[in-house]
C-alpha cells in the first residue's frame, strides 16, 4: 500500500469510522459514496462500536508481502453489532481457539511494516472480548 493510500483510509482503519445512511439508516463500513442498501448518497460519519462476532474464519500460513512476520495468523469475517460484515485479522488468540460465533471486540494494532525504513501501518483487528468480572453495585 502506498503512503498516500494508507493515509487516506486512516480514520476507518484506526477506529472503524464508517457511515450511517441518512435515508435508510443502515450502518455502512467501509465508508462509500453511495449507500449499498438503498443507493442514496451516504455521508454521515458514524463510529462503529467495534463489537461483533466471528461469522467465519481461516488461518493464513502463506502470507502476502508485508505480513510475513505475523504468520501463521487467523483472519475472520466479523459480523458487527450494527450490521456490517468486515474482514479482519484476529489477534491475542491462537488460531486453534477461534470459533464461529465467538464474541470479539475491535483493537487498533500494527498491520504491516514497509521494511525497516518504511512507514508502519496500523489498523483495526479483533480479539476475543476481554473477560471482566461481574460489576458489583
Amino acid at each position: 500500500m502506498s503512503v498516500a493510500r494508507t493515509w487516506r483510509t486512516r480514520k476507518q482503519r484506526y477506529g472503524l469510522m464508517g457511515e450511517r445512511c441518512d435515508y435508510c439508516h443502515n450502518a455502512i463500513f467501509p465508508p462509500r459514496d453511495v449507500c449499498p442498501h438503498c443507493a442514496e448518497p451516504a455521508q454521515r460519519e458514524f463510529a462503529l462500536s467495534g463489537r461483533g462476532a466471528v461469522y467465519s474464519y481461516t488461518t493464513v500460513f502463506d502470507p502476502p508481502t508485508g505480513f510475513e512476520a505475523y504468520a501463521p495468523y487467523p483472519v475472520a469475517l466479523i459480523k458487527l453489532e450494527e450490521g456490517p460484515m468486515v474482514t479482519a485479522q484476529l489477534t491475542d488468540v491462537a488460531p486453534d481457539q477461534v470459533r464461529i460465533g465467538m464474541p470479539v471486540e475491535m483493537v487498533t494494532r500494527k498491520l504491516s511494516e514497509q521494511g525497516d525504513e518504511g512507514v508502519i501501518v496500523y489498523s483495526y483487528k479483533f480479539r476475543p472480548q476481554l473477560q471482566r468480572p461481574a460489576l458489583t453495585a
Binding site: 484506526y14 489477534t91 500494527k110 508502519i120 496500523y122 483487528k125 473477560q131 471482566r132 468480572p133
Partner: protein, 357 residues
C-alpha cells in the same frame, strides 16, 4: 540582589484533576525463571516473578491507543475538546514521527490539538502528566491527555532482561470539579546522573550496575517525596496509598520503608512482580491499579523515577466521582489476569531478537 523564595511545589492557577484514566498491559508473560534458565542457570533471588511482553502486532502506539480509549470511556467527554495528546516513552515506534499523532487520530482528537512525544527514560509519562496539569491549570485547554507507555528492551542475558516489560496507562486531565481524583500538588527533582542510557543508534540500553541504586533511584525518589510532603505539611500516614516507580520488587519496597510508608500502603500499586518494569508506564499503571480500588477521600502519593535522572512526585485526593467512572472501562487487574505464558524462544521472536538477514 535579594533572594526570592518561591514555593517548590508545582500547583496550577485553577484546580486540576484526573477526569479519566485507563490502563493497558499486553497478555504475554515471560517468567524470570525462563530468562534464568537460558542465561544464568540460577533461579534464586530473581527480581520479579514474570514480565508482560507485547505481542507481534503491538507497540507503544497501539498500546497507548487502548489505554487512552479506556481513559476517554471513563471521562465521557467529546474527544474534540482535548487540546493536547502527550505520550511519554522510551520505545516510540519511530525515531522521527510522533506517536502522539497516531493516538490523537485514532481517538478522534485531531486536528485541533497539541501532539508531542516526551522522553525522559522511565519518567517521560509523569513529565507529560505535569505538562498536562499546567495546560489545563493555566486555562489554555479544557482537557489534556497524558500517557506513559513502553515496550522496554533489555540486552539478552543482561540483568534488565528479567524485568524490561510492556504496559502503561493514560490520564485525561481536566477541571478539578469534574475529576475522579484532584491533583493537589506535584514536585520535580532532577540532577544530571548517568545511571542508565541508550545512545542514538543502539538497540539496547546500558547502565551503571549498582550505580542505579543509591545515587540514582533512592536519592531522587526519596528527595522528591520528602520535599513534597514537607511543603504540604503531610506525613506518610496521611496517605492511604503510595505508588513508587518499580524497576524491581526490592527498590520500591525499600524506598517506601525509608520514607516511612507501610507495606499495606504500597500493596495495591505494586505490580512489578507480575508485569515487570513497564518503564514510562511503571508508576502510572501502578496508579491506575490504585484508582481501581480507592475510595472517595483517600489520598494517593505517586513518585516516578527516570534515569538520567529525576523524580516527579504527585499528591492526589480521590473524589466521589470515582465510583461512577471506574466500571466504564476494563480495570488494570482485568488485563493482568489475561495471562499467556511464553518461553524464551517465543519471546525472542516477538521482541525481534533474532537476526533474520
Amino acid at each position: 540582589m535579594t533572594e526570592v523564595k518561591d514555593s517548590v511545589l508545582l500547583r496550577p492557577n485553577r484546580p486540576v484533576g484526573v477526569v479519566g484514566y485507563g490502563a493497558y498491559v499486553p497478555m504475554y508473560r515471560l517468567p524470570a525463571r525462563e530468562v534464568a534458565r537460558v542465561w544464568s542457570g540460577r533461579d534464586a533471588e530473581l527480581p520479579i516473578e514474570e514480565k508482560a511482553v507485547a505481542g507481534l502486532d503491538e507497540d507503544t502506539a497501539s498500546m497507548a491507543i487502548e489505554a487512552a480509549r479506556n481513559a476517554l470511556a471513563r471521562g465521557q467527554i467529546d474527544p474534540r475538546r482535548i487540546r493536547a495528546v502527550w505520550v511519554g516513552s522510551e520505545s516510540h515506534p519511530y525515531a522521527v514521527k510522533p506517536t502522539s499523532t497516531i493516538v490523537a487520530e485514532a481517538l478522534g482528537i485531531t486536528p485541533l490539538t497539541q501532539a508531542a512525544d516526551w522522553e525522559f527514560a522511565c519518567k517521560a509519562g509523569t513529565e507529560a502528566m505535569q505538562a498536562a496539569i499546567a495546560f489545563v491549570g493555566s486555562g489554555m485547554a479544557p482537557y489534556a491527555l497524558s500517557i506513559g507507555m513502553d515496550t522496554a528492551q533489555g540486552r539478552p542475558g543482561d540483568a534488565l532482561e528479567y524485568t524490561a516489560a510492556a504496559g502503561g496507562a493514560a490520564y485525561l486531565l481536566g477541571p478539578a470539579e469534574e475529576s475522579l481524583a484532584v491533583m493537589e500538588a506535584s514536585l520535580s527533582y532532577v540532577t544530571d546522573t548517568p545511571d542508565f542510557w541508550r545512545r542514538a543508534h543502539a538497540h539496547y540500553p546500558s547502565h551503571g550496575q549498582r550505580f542505579t541504586g543509591e545515587p540514582a533511584y533512592f536519592h531522587h525518589v526519596t528527595n522528591a517525596a520528602q520535599l513534597m510532603l514537607a511543603e504540604l505539611g503531610r506525613k506518610p500516614g496521611d496517605y492511604r496509598y503510595a505508588v513508587l516507580h518499580q524497576p524491581n520488587l526490592k527498590f520500591p519496597q525499600r524506598a517506601a520503608k525509608l520514607l516511612g510508608f507501610k507495606a499495606e500502603q504500597i500493596q495495591a500499586g505494586l505490580l512489578v512482580g507480575r508485569i515487570g518494569n513497564t518503564y514510562a508506564g511503571s508508576s502510572l499503571v501502578g496508579l491506575s491499579a490504585v484508582l481501581d480500588e480507592a475510595r472517595p477521600g483517600d489520598r494517593v502519593l505517586v513518585v516516578s523515577f527516570g534515569s538520567g535522572a529525576g523524580s516527579d512526585a504527585f499528591s492526589l485526593e480521590i473524589t466521589e466521582r470515582i465510583e461512577a467512572a471506574r466500571p466504564r472501562a476494563p480495570q488494570t487487574q482485568d488485563y493482568i489476569a489475561r495471562r499467556v505464558e511464553i518461553d524464551y524462544a517465543t519471546y525472542a521472536r516477538m521482541r525481534g531478537k533474532l537476526l533474520m538477514k
